[in-house]
């Protein structure tokens, strides 16, 4: 019988590990660098866009340059991460919606708890929406960055999409940070790579069961 490779150490007569390995070092650095680039893009966006903040700092040309490069390099950590087998496996998990994910969002909105795998359906949707949004932001951003690439009507439309999608991304990222702020154990997973089995059993029971090799 193959051993559960995610388990770091086993304790106790039941053989239940107290800590489960949730993320590899590579995965944690992918998250950190992506988060840093996203925060830079959002903050520079706010200072370019909101008059009250723009008046504080000026330096428009510099802000634009920082914003453009933070935006265009946002997918780089993820692309480099494809070299990591564990990361590719987690991308696969984020992509697939199993039977237990069906109705998860509706249940969560009503305050019910449904069992989930390593990622719950909300996390999967967040990952997909952010990934799609970043791609759209890069496309529309490039059209605004290099105005001679596209006809005017595309540029006006791109500005429209870029402005409104930026608002949506801001709300989603704020929600993401708010969820993390309420869950120290989830943050520990991304800081150290490990989470407690009790947390996993509560938040991601199907994954926890899987880690027992059942």
């Amino acid at each position: 019988m193959p051993l559960p490779t995610d388990a770091t150490h086993t304790t106790g007569e039941a053989g239940a590990p107290e800590l489960l390995r949730r993320f590899t070092t590579a995965e944690r650095w992918i998250h950190r660098t992506t988060a840093l680039l996203m925060v830079i893009a959002l903050i520079t966006a706010a200072f370019l866009y909101l008059p009250a903040l723009a008046e504080l700092v000026g330096r428009r040309r510099l802000l634009v340059t920082v914003h453009e490069w933070a935006g265009i390099t946002l997918p780089v950590p993820l692309l480099l991460g494809l070299l990591s087998r564990a990361f590719r496996a987690d991308l696969g998990r984020l992509n697939r919606f199993g039977p237990h994910d069906r109705g998860w969002v509706r249940a969560a909105l009503r305050g019910h708890h449904r069992p989930s795998g390593k990622f719950n359906a909300g996390q999967k949707l967040y990952a997909a929406v952010i990934a799609g949004a970043v791609l759209v932001m890069i496309g529309t951003g490039l059209i605004m960055w290099f105005p001679h690439l596209a006809p005017l009507i595309w540029r006006t439309g791109s500005t429209f999409v870029h402005d409104w999608l930026a608002l949506l991304i801001g709300v989603l990222v704020a929600g993401h940070i708010w969820m993390a702020a309420r869950d120290p154990e989830a943050r520990r997973g991304l800081r150290t790579g490990h989470v407690s089995r009790t947390w996993a059993r509560r938040e991601h029971p199907l994954w926890e069961k899987e880690q027992r090799g059942e």
Binding site: A128, L135, V136, E210, Q211
Partner: protein, 244 residues
């Protein structure tokens, strides 16, 4: 079973993630195609909402109306009305330095037109009051061989340019009032350029010098690809309606 590769609660099922990403790409492309028209409609709705919104929050939405603050300098420069000076020099018979009071004593012109930014936003019916550039040029006496004007600003960074013919138009002025109040620091006060028929980057804030030259010296943004002759609707690849 192995915890990598196959099996597990999340490893089978519908590829919803991929579908969501593709849907976002489709929506994004559709939005970029029709967005130009949509934004116009949203601008109209938001303009009526913003007019009645006591919180001002709706002004923060895209197209929510109003001016946006653009500056290439690191701080908002400040000159008091008493300290302010405008110099006119270069290819002129009588170089001069004017105080704000002297400018205000000259023949005044008030223009009410739309302000159009090259990035798309537009503020309707904005009154500017000031002295026509043509009057300042006549006072200084343009020497033969003069072709253009270079404008410098006391933010220390920005510059702009106009040809002599453009500058002599009756809608090109040195403005000291906007919305019938003194031009504020953030809007480029106490005195800014107002080039009414052109995109607003031509209307240099914090104007401190006018130099008559024998050729056009492109201004700050023009070094980054903006058009030198910035007629609204006929430059920078844009088709906005004229500002009249």
């Amino acid at each position: 079973m192995s915890s990598d590769g196959t099996g597990g609660a999340d490893r089978a099922g519908t590829p919803v993630g991929r579908r969501v990403i593709l849907a976002m790409l489709g929506l994004g492309a559709a939005g970029a195609t029709v967005g130009g028209y949509l934004q116009n409609g949203i601008d109209n709705v938001l303009a009526s909402v913003t007019a009645k919104d006591p919180t001002g929050l709706s002004g923060l939405l895209p197209g929510g109306g109003g001016f946006r603050f653009y500056s290439v300098a690191d701080t908002i420069p400040h000159r008091s009305p008493a300290d302010y000076r405008l110099t006119v020099d270069g290819l002129v018979e009588r170089p001069a330095t004017y105080t704000l009071a002297q400018l205000q004593a000259m023949p005044r012109t008030r223009l009410v037109k739309d302000v159009q930014c090259v990035t798309g936003w537009r503020v309707p019916h904005t009154p500017f009051t000031g002295v026509l550039l043509s009057h300042l040029l006549d006072e200084a006496g343009v020497r033969p061989g003069a072709k253009a004007l270079t404008f410098t600003c006391f933010d220390g960074v920005y510059s702009e340019s106009l040809t002599l013919d453009q500058a002599r138009r009756p809608d090109m002025m040195v403005a000291y009032a906007m919305d019938d109040r003194p031009v504020t620091d953030a809007h480029g006060g106490p005195v800014r350029l107002y080039a009414a028929p052109m995109y607003f980057y031509k209307s240099a804030k914090w104007l401190s010098g006018i130099t008559v030259t024998d050729h056009v010296q492109p201004g700050y943004w023009e070094h980054y690809g903006y058009d030198v002759d910035a007629w609204v609707g006929k430059s920078n690849g844009r088709t906005d309606a004229p500002t009249d």
